[in-house]
Subunit: 205 residues, 2 copies
């Protein structure tokens, strides 16, 4: 509720330490699966000390989700209606894939929340997220109407980018179990580029 700007250096440091530890534990176990003791151990603090900085387990969790949602949707917001369509869409997919590579725990935190019915963020999805997607879908639709990219369902196109990119973070264990290479991301970059290029590039007529 009230996170009226923390004042002392210790507060700033410890809140950060706790959020980092919380991210680690929540993303690996989900909200119910995580325990305050785990988070406290990970943070190097005692459990009561944790609850001195955050009023409850849920407060740590929602603080993480709030911070996450913003940065998570930035790549989609950055899609420029005045730019070159193919470059913009491919760039969006690559930026989203980079998020999966660089912030896999954030991706898994979000995936856990959605998988379990989005108890904390369902309303935000129906308002903020829907508004953003509707807006960007219109941009895509305009590009299609102008013949700059091939026609397809813009919303499912956006879904597909979310799905394909987050998959590499969320299903990391499965991918590494199946793949021979150490790092799946170079191959993924290349594949996504090819996939969306062949879907979107207008064909000779």
């Amino acid at each position: 509720m009230d996170d009226a700007a923390p004042k002392t250096r210790i507060q700033i440091r410890n809140r950060k330490v706790i959020l980092t530890a919380g991210l680690e534990v929540f993303s690996a176990n989900g909200f119910r699966g995580a325990t305050l003791d785990q988070i406290a151990r990970e943070a190097g603090l005692s459990k009561p000390n944790l609850l001195y900085y955050f009023p409850s387990k849920e407060a740590i969790y929602t603080a993480l989700l709030d911070a996450l949602l913003d940065t998570w949707l930035d790549p989609l917001r950055a899609l420029d209606p005045t730019g070159d369509p193919i470059t913009e869409i491919l760039g969006y997919a690559q930026r989203k894939l980079a998020l999966s590579r660089d912030f896999p725990r954030e991706s898994r935190l979000f995936a856990n929340e959605i998988l379990q019915g989005a108890p904390m963020v369902r309303d935000l999805l129906k308002t903020d997220l829907k508004a953003l997607v509707d807006d960007r879908a219109e941009v895509l639709q305009n590009w299609m109407d102008a013949g700059l990219i091939r026609r397809t369902d813009p919303v499912h196109l956006i879904f597909s980018i979310w799905s394909l990119t987050q998959h590499y973070a969320d299903f990391d264990v499965q991918i590494r179990a199946v793949l021979d290479e150490e790092d799946p991301f170079p191959g993924a970059e290349c594949f996504l580029d090819q996939l969306y290029r062949s879907l979107l590039e207008p064909r000779a007529r």
Copy 2:
């Protein structure tokens, strides 16, 4: 461990009732998040009665996962090396999508398990799943070498089908929050068809 064929009708019925209840609860909350009391309530049995049919919470969970894994990989096994490549791949994607539509709880159960590091099935992934994927990737590679479909990374192609189809079950809440239509699946079918057709159909040269 030992599920030496249950004998009486009551055993057969109750084991089934418990597994159904367990699927409901585990898929919605993950392993740690689910409780025996929830499962017992869902099954209409008392908690000790549950533990008369299964030795532990984990036993219910692994029984579900075991049964799931088989049916989950069937569509990929069904991919026919002697069939028409595009038809086979598109058919595989559609069959996988149908699984997401008809068995969303199974999909979410599996997603929960993988998300949390696949503690129960990691070994199976590295052996059985990897073997199957390697085998099918070779089939795809042969089709590419024969010029029947365009060249791309066969393993990432398989990943993409998993990702795109399971997304509609696992992220159901998010999709319904954003989409206007009641049922996302007709649109998804159509989009996937278009996506893989444009990726795979050899271009005029």
